[in-house]
């Protein structure tokens, strides 16, 4: 283990004992040239793509999850949670708005797939852009009046929106009421892969492609105008606005991009699970995804990926202690937040204090 040199945070809290994986990783990445980076990225993507086979060997069979098969767990919850946590990270981590109703966009995507998939002949791949667009539109419509609110007021309004979407689904005839929608068609084959119940690998790969696209998009946006605007808004909205950043516009951007990712995840989820019901879209899901973001390290893509993977995988892995599963989950949240309040892999500190004894 390598510890970074002695540093003090702004409030005088000693952070020298913190294992700073994030900064070391970033330093290593920056020291590489382009071919090296590309080779590394391809290697990592290749390894991750092989994950469905990871539990096949006798040594690695500890990865296997009881009750649900390991490969299915990789798709839902792990893959889906990573995808949604990345989407929520744009809203919470990048631009600093607390959204407690993220599940609403997931639900909108899932119900789009549910209704269009059963009522029309459209395939999942045709519904995917529609669901994404509808989620984005709802994010825009919710954001327009509410993004003027700050902090906790925004939190309660988004929370309310999440509940409204669930209750509308519960009480409307078109959405099947409390029974939800059954018989949602699976996606049509793509690149020779059939999307059936006994082939979760195909879903995993398609989720992986979506995750990679989202990561690529976030990384590009982060270094461009929207990313800088979000960073400014997160640090101080008034100052950002004084400096000429159109804050409402970029907050809307952030909100609707986050929403569209949730919607895309919802479409794919409904298509895999084939049955959706309002019970799947409760406030708990929103809180869980927010926990993924904060647990892993707000604002840092890799932290969020790690946090979501752990928080999605662990409850499935410890399903054998069925009764105390959630209890252990809660305890983990408390302990980790108290030990590493910035998350497992925190974002890079902008205002770093020059380290002298690190030659």
């Amino acid at each position: 283990m390598v510890f970074s040199a002695k540093r003090y945070s702004r409030r005088g809290y000693d952070v020298s004992e913190e294992l700073n994986l994030r900064d070391q990783g970033a330093a290593m990445w920056e020291s590489w040239n382009r071919p090296k980076r590309v080779a590394f990225a391809i290697g990592v993507i290749f390894l991750v793509a092989l994950l469905p086979y990871a539990a096949d060997f006798s040594i690695t069979s500890v990865l296997n999850t009881p009750i649900t098969s390991y490969q299915s767990v990789l798709v839902y919850p792990v893959g889906m949670f990573v995808l949604m946590a990345l989407g929520l990270n744009i809203v919470v981590g990048k631009s600093g708005m607390l959204d407690l109703g993220y599940v609403a966009f997931f639900a909108i995507g899932a119900y789009t797939q549910g209704i269009l998939g059963t009522k029309t002949g459209l395939s999942t791949w045709e519904i995917l852009p529609i669901g994404t667009f509808l989620a984005m539109l709802s994010g825009l419509l919710l954001g327009l009046p509410t993004l003027r609110l700050r902090g906790d007021y925004l939190a309660i309004v988004t929370l309310g929106f999440g509940e409204i979407v669930r209750l509308v689904a519960l009480n409307s005839r078109e959405t099947g009421g409390p029974n939800g929608i059954t018989g949602i068609p699976n996606p049509t084959p793509l690149f020779g892969q059939r999307f059936t119940l006994d082939n979760p690998k195909a879903y995993f790969w398609i989720v992986l492609v979506m995750i990679l696209l989202v990561i690529w998009m976030i990384r590009r946006l982060s270094v461009r105008r929207p990313g800088r605007a979000w960073e400014a808004i997160r640090q101080d909205e008034d100052v950002a606005s004084l400096m000429g950043v159109p804050t409402l516009k970029y907050k809307l951007w952030s909100f609707s991009i986050g929403a569209s990712i949730g919607g895309a995840a919802g479409v794919l989820y409904a298509s895999k699970i084939m049955v959706i019901a309002p019970d799947m879209f409760t406030l708990n899901v929103s809180i869980l995804i927010l926990a993924c973001v904060v647990f892993g390290g707000m604002g840092n893509i890799w932290g969020v990926v790690l946090g979501a993977t752990l928080l999605a995988y662990l409850p499935e892995r410890i399903r054998f202690i069925t009764d105390a599963r959630q209890l252990v989950f809660g305890l983990t949240l408390v302990v980790v937040m108290n030990v590493r309040p910035d998350g497992l892999l925190p974002r890079k500190k902008r205002e770093k204090i020059a380290v002298k004894d690190k030659e």
Partner: protein
């Protein structure tokens, strides 16, 4: 849409709305007091409420040994038992609230970290509490024995003044005004207000921050515990997740009135209780929650800090 109901039962609905609203007021005070000093949503408050309901049930069944088939009590015995239950509920909730502060907030506050970390740690504590209770009670609801015979004082304009409704209204009002006086007049109350204005300055003025914050959690917990007792007296049952919906409603009430503002919480709670009653009568109870949130969003659109909102310059993640 059923407006005939509204004309028929207007006063009955108003009365139940007020009594429900006052329970919301007490719980939302738990949220709003903590928010005032820490600028944080205490997500575990709904679980503190749950602890209070169980304290009431345990007191009447476990300690006094009454069960569902027990006769209702009368006279001094009734008053003594009810008071004992109320105090047990308040104390246990108060202790739970102080423990929540120590476990979920204190260390993080000392480190001066981002607010979301505290939020997640409070959510963690809340999960631990409700799941712990779920395991202890095997997910089964517990019913509370009926100690108070629910006789009626009489009807005025269709509103039935039942003893439990009157009890809730009168005692909540007493508690609320006692709190209001306490916060505006007493030494500790002044300290709490000072901390909610500026943490740094009050520290410089020699206020012991940790003690004031603990006291705030304690007071919030005591009031939430009282609400839990009234809730159990009226609805006569509890469950491990009883706090979830009620906590959500109480938090909405606090925001509606302007979070951090004690009198705002009063009006927020009452408004919410009335809206819920009227909405379920007119639109049907399944649209109750939606109406509440639509009203909330509309109010926030025109008054972004709630009806009686303080002028918070900035509160962000």
């Amino acid at each position: 849409m059923n407006f005939a109901v509204l004309a028929d039962q207007f006063w009955a609905l108003t009365l139940t709305g007020i009594s429900l609203g006052l329970i919301y007021v007490l719980v939302s005070l738990g949220y709003t007091m903590v928010y005032g000093v820490l600028r944080l949503i205490n997500f575990a408050n709904s679980e503190i409420f749950m602890v209070g309901t169980f304290a009431t049930v345990i007191m009447s069944t476990g300690v006094f040994g009454y069960d569902i088939n027990s006769e209702t009590l009368h006279g001094a015995k009734l008053i003594f038992t009810m008071l004992a239950c109320l105090i047990a509920s308040m104390l246990l909730s108060g202790v739970a609230a102080v423990l929540v502060e120590i476990v979920a907030y204190r260390r993080l506050r000392a480190m001066g970290t981002n607010r979301l970390a505290s939020l997640i740690s409070a959510i963690g504590v809340s999960i631990v509490m409700s799941e712990g209770m779920r395991i202890l009670t095997h997910s089964r609801p517990r019913s509370s024995p009926r100690l108070l015979e629910k006789w009626s004082f009489g009807e005025i304009a269709g509103a039935n003044f039942r003893i439990d409704t009157v009890l809730v209204i009168v005692s909540s009002l007493i508690l609320f005004f006692a709190l209001d006086r306490f916060v505006s007049k007493s030494r500790l109350g002044k300290a709490i207000r000072a901390v909610s204005m500026s943490e740094e300055t009050s520290k410089l003025m020699g206020i012991n921050l940790n003690r004031v914050i603990s006291a705030t959690f304690l007071i919030g917990g005591l009031l939430t515990g009282a609400a839990a007792f009234f809730y159990t007296t009226v609805y006569e049952m509890t469950k491990y997740n009883v706090g979830f919906n009620l906590g959500l409603a109480a938090f909405t009430a606090a925001v509606l009135g302007g979070i951090g503002n004690i009198r705002g919480a009063f009006f927020g709670g009452l408004t919410l209780g009335l809206i819920e009653q009227f909405a379920s009568a007119i639109l049907g109870s399944q649209w109750k929650a939606i109406t509440v949130f639509v009203v909330l969003v509309t109010v926030l659109l025109f008054k972004p800090n709630g009806i009686f909102g303080e002028a918070i310059q900035q509160t962000r993640v």
